[in-house]
């Protein structure tokens, strides 16, 4: 196990390095941050000063060497726009993204598993069709559209929840609900499909021959097997959430890493972009390890 994690860590480190190099140079193709930081009528001298202050006037390769050198000292550089260490900015945002992603994913997993399994057991029936259609429609609507309609209906119309922002638990309801829809739609479909084939497996026949009741048949005998393909999809969806939810964060004024990322990209705040990418990559790496562990936990054949 430790060996596996070690190998994964090395492989991921390589990917991370590749990612960093790619992002570093590609982002610098996208223009001059000085132009965006300073007002349109700023003088060339001011722009020059800004570049010099942030080392942007150096040859690209030297900038890169400096960046890597600093990185080796766990220094992710300063945010060009916020005049603060980029890593602080990112971690602050990540402290919002992480619980949002975890809560959403937790809800997605539990509801999708229960509803998807029941739908599979009742394949072709009314409940199955209902779950399918509702999840499909939900997953096919543009999320910003849902978000704005949700605000109009639930905050202004009904006044149940605040429109946006963070603070009380009530503030989290709408962002989580909107974020929930798409992964739920996907995962519930996969659960249903996977449970469908798992319910056809020979060991289910054995269980039926043993006289096992329906609920344990679904949720004890079949689910653990049916979860294996689901975990991969859950991993993909969780990874997407860990990358930050740009749209939802933008609309609900949720100070997560997705909004930070898009703002930093648009403003060419290179250090923040790089730091954000690396932090999310580490988070996703940890999650992948957890997924692997989950596989082992669920399936003894992988463990041994």
């Amino acid at each position: 196990m430790t060996k596996m994690i070690g190998q994964r860590a090395i492989a991921s480190l390589l990917s991370l390095l590749g990612l960093m190099i790619l992002v570093f140079f590609l982002s610098r193709l996208t223009g001059d941050p000085a132009v965006l930081f300073l007002p349109i009528d700023a003088t060339e001298e001011m722009k020059q000063q800004f570049r010099a202050l942030h080392g942007l006037d150096l040859p690209l390769i030297e900038q890169f060497a400096r960046y890597v050198w600093d990185l080796l000292h766990f220094d992710f550089g300063e945010s060009l726009r916020k005049a603060r260490p980029a890593i602080d900015v990112v971690l602050e945002a990540y402290a919002w993204t992480l619980p949002l992603a975890l809560i959403t994913m937790g809800l997605v997993i539990t509801t999708a598993i229960v509803l998807g399994s029941l739908a599979a057991f009742n394949v072709g029936g009314f409940f199955d069709r209902l779950v399918s259609i509702v999840s499909l429609v939900g997953a096919s609507a543009p999320d910003f559209w849902i978000a704005i309609v949700a605000i109009v209906v639930f905050s202004i119309g009904l006044g149940w929840v605040p429109t946006s922002g963070v603070g009380t638990p009530l503030h989290w309801v709408l962002p989580i609900a909107v974020l929930f829809i798409r992964p739920f739609g996907l995962v519930v479909q996969v659960v249903r499909g996977s449970m469908l084939s798992a319910l056809g497996a020979p060991y289910v026949k054995t269980a039926r021959a043993k006289g096992v009741k329906n609920l344990p048949l679904i949720f004890v005998h079949t689910l653990r097997n049916g979860m294996l393909p689901v975990i991969t999809v859950i991993g993909d969806q969780a990874a997407a959430l860990l990358n930050g939810a740009v749209i939802v964060e933008t609309i609900f004024g949720f100070p997560g890493v997705g909004k930070l990322m898009i703002d930093s990209i648009l403003q060419r705040d290179f250090n923040v972009v790089l730091a954000a990418i690396m932090v999310t990559a580490v988070a996703i790496f940890i999650m992948n390890i957890l997924i692997d562990l989950a596989y082992g936990l669920l399936d003894p054949r992988i463990r041994h």
Binding site: Y203, K210, G211, P300
Partner: protein, 537 residues
């Protein structure tokens, strides 16, 4: 005979498909009494499992539909009781074990948990269930029962898994045990052990045993009575001995006649030129030695059988000779050239001369290619028959050679039966006019009647075209009918070799002797004799 414990009366079940309704079983009736063993014998597609599944409420409805009939147990019609009542009977009164215990045991739970669940699912306390489970695991002969409880299905051997299934089925001392092909995937020696175990347990508990099988040998070994099924109908029923010795129905006769191991033993032509000379082949996977210093020779027109149980290395031998695996050491001279070290381009030429027929034609034929494409592919690869207009005629010729006809040319594998598919695979091998065909369990997946036909076909090809065969098999009867020389392998080593007659009539090595002893004879009297000699000896 006392009042039957369970009787199936006039059961008819249909399967609905887009192409129409298939009558899976028609008016099937059988019954069984306490302490009795009934065998339901039939080939694939005969509907032999359907009635048992109906008893257990395991039919998928739809596509299945029970058209008529009743299943009487303890005075109740099981087809009419509600779901909950039926569920409570399953496992408790009527238990079932299956072929392929690996698939039928839940891979993600320990066997202990699964065995215990048989009792807890029926409301018994867990500690009691655990004690009973330990007792039974010990009874069915699993070493270290405590430890075994905590292990997962994949950590056991095939025979052990079936023993565990049996233990699970017996947890609640059921009245009836239904065993659906319980020994089919097992090696002969293991099969004998499992059948013996079933018999012992039956004697201990007095339960009734319904055994569903395609194997006459199994019937001969264990059954008191037999019903023979063909195409959904019972064609014959009666005491096992009577049915074997005095079959009334033509199908039963055909089945008995097709049983292998009764033909004339072939002799090797000593003058045939040497084709393949393999010396000291070795192959290891990690620390496991699959081949240990294996040497063999094969002459033109010879049919050499390699016999052994699973894990003996016989398949690895074939794969190594075909360069599907790289040997660690040794050489294999094909007409004087070493196959093991041969370069790519030379190998391509040799590949034409050595063809292979695999065990399962369903898997060895690409499901997305038509028969024509399958057979003609070799010509594309080896740039033969450049005149494409002639190919079709040649394909038809080949099909006719293996007993198929021109109308089959554009069909796809799934539209054929198992035996027909294996013929297609043979036609594909013949298309390249090979000098050696390696058959890896080429007939073991086939029904006996078809098995006999395919063996006859291969033998015909050997004689007419002078093709050599390396014939890998675990079924001794088939080997006896086909091979002129036999090699017996065990744990990667050759333990005995010699002409077929010598191996079968005067085996030297104890392992060979054991193999032959475990091989079931379709004649119940022969089997009874053997059993008697074993108990006394």
């Amino acid at each position: 005979m006392s009042e039957p414990l369970l009787s199936v009366k006039n059961l008819s079940v249909d399967f609905h498909t887009a192409r129409g309704t298939v009558h899976a079983v028609k008016n099937v009736s059988w019954s069984i009494s306490r302490g009795e063993t009934l065998a339901i014998l039939g080939e694939s597609g005969s509907g032999k499992s359907v009635s048992a599944n109906a008893v257990m409420n395991l039919l998928d409805i739809p596509p299945a539909e029970i058209v008529s009939g009743e299943i009487i147990y303890e005075g109740k019609d099981l087809l009419k009781v509600d779901y909950e009542t039926h569920r409570a009977l399953n496992g408790k009164k009527i238990a079932m074990i299956f072929q392929d215990p690996l698939g039928h045991l839940n891979p993600v739970y320990t066997v202990g948990w699964q065995i215990v669940e048989m009792m807890t699912a029926h409301g018994r306390p867990a500690d009691m269930a655990r004690a009973r489970a330990l007792e039974l695991i010990k009874r069915v002969g699993i070493p270290e029962p405590e430890k075994a409880m905590g292990k997962y299905p994949h950590q056991f051997s095939g025979g052990q898994r079936q023993r565990l299934m049996i233990a699970m089925a017996l947890m609640l001392k059921p009245d009836i045990l239904i065993a659906d092909e319980p020994t089919t995937a097992l090696d002969v020696t293991i099969q004998a052990e499992v059948l013996a175990l079933l018999k012992e347990l039956q004697a201990e508990t007095g339960m009734a045993l319904v055994l569903i099988t395609h194997d006459l040998g199994v019937v001969a070994e264990i059954a008191d009575r037999v019903v023979v099924m063909n195409k959904g109908e019972i064609v014959e029923a009666g005491l096992t001995r009577e049915v074997y010795h005095n079959p009334k129905h033509a199908y039963t006769r055909k089945l008995i006649d097709a049983a292998p191991g009764k033909g004339e033993i072939k002799l090797l032509d000593p003058a045939a030129p040497l084709l393949l000379d393999a010396k000291k082949l070795n192959k290891t996977y990690g620390s496991f030695a699959a081949l240990k210093d294996v040497s063999l020779t094969l002459a033109r027109g010879q049919s050499l059988a390699v016999v052994g149980e699973s894990g003996s290395g016989k398949s690895t031998l074939a794969r190594t000779l075909l360069r599907l695996e790289e040997a660690d050491s040794g050489e294999a001279l094909w007409k004087g050239r070493d196959l093991i070290t041969m370069g790519r381009s030379e190998l391509l030429g040799v590949r034409r001369q050595i063809q292979m027929v695999f065990q399962d034609p369903t898997q060895s034929l690409n499901p997305r290619m038509s028969v024509y494409q399958l057979i003609a592919e070799g010509w594309d690869i080896h740039k033969l028959m450049p005149d494409k207009s002639k190919r079709r005629a040649k394909v038809i010729e080949l099909l006719e050679q293996v007993g198929l006809s021109a109308e089959h040319v554009d069909r796809y594998p799934h539209q054929f039966s198992g035996g027909q598919r294996q013929r297609i695979a043979i036609a594909r091998a013949l298309a390249l006019e090979p000098e050696l065909i390696i058959c890896d369990e080429a007939v073991s997946a086939l029904d006996v009647s078809i098995q006999a036909q395919v063996i006859a076909l291969l033998d015909d090809l050997r004689q007419r075209l002078g093709i050599s065969f390396l014939f890998i098999a675990h079924d001794l009867g088939v080997v006896r009918d086909f091979a002129d020389t036999v090699i017996v392998m065990k744990s990667g080593e050759i333990v005995e070799r010699g002409p077929t007659a010598q191996i079968f009539e005067a085996p030297q090595h104890p392992y060979t002797q054991r193999l032959l002893a475990a091989n079931l004879d379709p004649d119940p009297d022969v089997q009874a004799e053997r059993r008697a000699s074993l108990t006394h000896g």
